[in-house]
Amino acid sequence: MLIDCDIHVGYETLADLLDYLDGATRELVSSSGTNGLAMPSYPWNHPAGWIRQDVYERGSSVGDFPYLTLDTLRERHLDRYAVSIGVVEPDEAAAFAILPNSQLAARLCSAYNDWLLDRWLEEEPRLRGMIVVPAQWPEAAAREIRRVGTRDEFAGIFLPGAARIPYGNPVYDPLWEAANELALPVAVHTHFESVGIAGPVTAAGMPDYYGEYHALCGSGMYGHFVSILCHGIFERFPSTRVAMVEGGLVPFVGFLWRLDTNWKSCRNEMPWCKRRPSDYVWDHIRFATQPLESPDDPEQLVRAIEFLRPAETLMYASDFPHWDFDEPEQTLRQLPVEWRESVRWRNAQTFFRLPAPALA
C-alpha cells in the first residue's frame, strides 16, 4: 500500500480549459496578450529542465509545463511503484491564486477543477484531486470549495506558498469556514513565490539563481505555517487539517521551537492561540516528505526531525514528474523501519480520510 501526496498534472496551455469556461472568459483568455492570456511565471529557470526528462519530448510542448499524459503517469509512476492513491496537485494552475485579477482567477479555477475531474479524476480511480481556489478572493474560494468539495474525487484544497497575505489572517476566514464545513484538508504547497501578487521569496531581496530560490522556496510556507498557528485557525475551525507540502522538514523544527518560546511571552496578543503552538501541530498538521533533506549521514536527518513526531505526521510524497522527484523506496529507506508503514500510507489515509476500500 502506498499513498503519494504530491503528483503534478496540468494542462499544456490555457486553451485546454476553453471548453470549461463561460463565453466571456473564453473571449478574454483567447484575445489577451499576443497569443492569448499569458500566465505569470518564475523569473528563474531550472538550468537543466523543470521536468523529468523521461516523461516528455523536448520541443514537443508549446507551454512551459510539458503535457504529461495519463498513460505516461500510469506507466512511469502509478503502475511502476504500485501507487494505491495519488493526490494530484496543480502545475501552472497554482498561479491562478496569485493573479491580480481575482474575478478572472475565480473563473479559471472553476474551469480547471472541472477539467481535472473530466480528464483525470473520473478516468483514473487511483487519483484524487486538490481543489484549486482563488485564494486572493476568499469568498469566491469558499464558493468553489462548496461547489466541488463534496465530490469524492477531490481529497482537499490546494493553496500555493505564494500569497499576498499569510493564510492565518482573518481575511481568509470564509475559506477556512468552507474547508471546516466540508472537513476537507488544505495543502499548502510551495509554488510561485515572488511571482504575480505574491511577496518576495525572502526579505533579503531577489535571489540571482534558481538553485538559490529552490533552497529558499519554503519561506512562504513557513510564513503561512506560523500565521495559521498564531491566528488560532484550529481553535475556530476544529475540523481543519493542513499539510505542508514540499517545504522540507528540518526548518519546521526550528520555527516551532522558536514560536513555542515566543508564545510564552507574547500570548496576550494572540489569545485565540490558546495552547502552545506545537500542540496544535500533532492534531492538525502533517508534513510531506519530498524533497527529503539528504545529509551525507542519514542519521543526522532522523535526529533533526524527531521533534516533528514523524511516525504520526509524515506522509510520503514524490513530486512526480518534477526534477526533484523522490522515489518511494529510496525515501522510505532513509527513515527508521518503525516509521515506514505510517509514512508510506497510514498517515495520509487518515489525513485525507480516504476510504479503506479505495486502497484495496
Partner: protein, 123 residues
C-alpha cells in the same frame, strides 16, 4: 557462469553513436550505453548511482565552466546528465561532477577490425 557470448556485444564500426547520442546495448542482462566523446567511445551502465534512474536516457551536454573569471564551454558533449534529478557525470571517467563519492560504472570498449566490442569487463 556467463559464456563469452553473454559477456560481449559487437556492432559494426559504422553503427557507432554520433556525438551527443547514446547507443543502448544489453549484455547478459546489463543495460549499457555506448557514447562518443571526440574520437573516443565509452560504455556506461544505464543506472544512475544516485537514485537508480535510467541514466543513459539523459541528455548529453557540454559543461559550463569558469574561464578567466567568466564562463565558457568545456569539452564538447562530454557530460551525461541524469534524466531525473539532473546530476552530471563525466562520460570519460564516469565521475559524478557534483558528488565525488559517486561514479557510474564503466565497461571496456575496444575495436577489432571493423567492429566495436563492448564487454562486461571494467574499463
Amino acid at each position: 557462469m556467463s559464456t563469452k557470448a553473454q559477456r560481449e556485444a559487437r556492432l559494426p564500426l559504422d553503427h557507432a553513436p554520433r556525438e551527443g547520442t547514446v547507443h543502448l546495448l544489453e549484455i547478459g542482462g546489463h543495460r549499457i550505453g555506448l557514447v562518443r566523446v571526440g574520437d573516443s567511445l565509452h560504455a556506461l551502465a544505464d543506472r544512475c548511482p544516485h537514485r537508480g534512474a535510467p541514466l543513459c536516457s539523459g541528455r548529453i551536454t557540454t559543461p559550463i565552466e569558469v574561464r578567466d573569471g567568466g564562463v565558457g564551454l568545456g569539452e564538447r558533449a562530454s557530460i551525461l546528465r541524469c534524466p531525473w534529478h539532473k546530476w552530471e557525470f563525466e562520460i570519460a571517467t564516469g565521475r559524478c561532477v557534483v558528488d565525488p563519492r559517486l561514479r557510474v560504472r564503466k565497461y571496456a570498449v575496444r575495436l577489432e577490425g571493423d567492429e566495436i566490442v563492448v564487454s562486461l569487463d571494467h574499463a
